[in-house]
Chain length 209, copies 2
């Protein structure tokens, strides 16, 4: 009987944690990390604010978990897109295109993950994940060099150029303060994605797209 109660409590705790994470995610996707207040999250999750701090040491730790989960999903998507059949340039093009399109479909979350000014702890996570993206790109670039569709060059270095170019060129369009986030038409978005991809692929191959 004692055992069953403990099991039930464990389940209840896990369920509360899941709801906290889910509601934090919603808050961030709606207004960024800055606007995700603990009281608001607690209200949405139907728990006391104290409960949040039983699951997470601090607001920063909760945010770090959201950041990691959401970013890892994007990293996995890039890895998947790079893992499809086709020559390396096409795979890189698809991965970059998909990354930008996904960001523009969830602009506030993408802004929060890519560029929102956040505390140094989260900023450090960002640096780690940027390395993760770069490593996936680097592998594909090396494959492209081996296949002959990309001229021989320092793949490690150009992989970071890709990460920087795509992230930075999305900052403006995603920025909620620049107010362009909601004013982009589908045509604008397509044009934006095309031009990011063109710059990146030209940068790698040195051939006009």
């Amino acid at each position: 009987m004692a055992y069953r109660e403990t099991e039930k409590m464990r389940q209840r705790k896990a369920e509360a944690r899941r709801r906290i994470v889910e509601c934090t995610y919603e808050c961030v996707a709606e207004g960024g990390f800055r606007s995700a207040r603990i009281t608001r999250i607690a209200g949405l999750a139907g728990v006391a604010t104290g409960t949040i701090y039983r699951h997470f040491e601090s607001r920063e730790d909760l945010f770090a978990e959201i950041f990691r989960t959401a970013t890892q999903k994007e990293v996995d998507k890039v890895a998947e897109a790079l893992d499809t059949p086709g020559d390396a340039t096409t795979r890189l093009e698809n991965a970059l295109r998909q990354f930008a399109e996904r960001a523009l479909r969830g602009p506030m979350m993408a802004w929060s993950l890519i560029a929102e000014p956040v505390d140094p702890k989260l900023e450090e996570e960002r640096l780690v994940y940027r390395r993760a993206y770069a490593e996936h790109f680097e592998r594909a670039i090396r494959e492209g060099i081996a296949e002959g569709c990309i001229p021989d060059h320092d793949a490690r270095q150009s992989s970071t150029c890709l990460v920087g170019a795509i992230a930075e060129s999305l900052v403006g369009p995603l920025s909620p303060t620049l107010a362009s986030q909601n004013s982009l038409t589908e045509t604008d978005k397509n044009r934006l994605v095309d031009s990011i991809v063109r710059f990146c692929v030209q940068g790698l191959t040195g051939s006009r797209r």
Copy 2:
């Protein structure tokens, strides 16, 4: 007599402020914003820590001033390099090269300005300055399009690709935690700068460099 004393005090205050700024700069250039402690700065400047807070509301405000002054200098250098004679591609190439070379010559300061995880206030300054770099690049790209040395495309968008590509590709080499900062030979540095510039110019022109 009262007037003269006030004037003297004003001069002494200005001199203390100048020393505080100078010593903060030194600390940041040596170990980044994180390691620039107020007690250390006060010691170097020969003032009480309280004096620092009479000149700056907070550590963040002092850091913001250092950040702005140091970054504005780099923005001006880019603007200057873009303003020399020659075709736009060459001017862009020179400006990018100079930016990267200067960063590699003062790696800790460059790391602090470009990528060190800092508090959100400073991070917002970073976004502002990234726009400033992009605007200078954009103007030169437009000139290149008008001159015919750069194919017609969205200059605003590609200017942000340049900013992202050059900044991100310097993060690894400059990072003090990755410990590569001091292990780069002159040949490594030249190769790195060449490959960043090549990626960027190829991205803009679509012609092999």
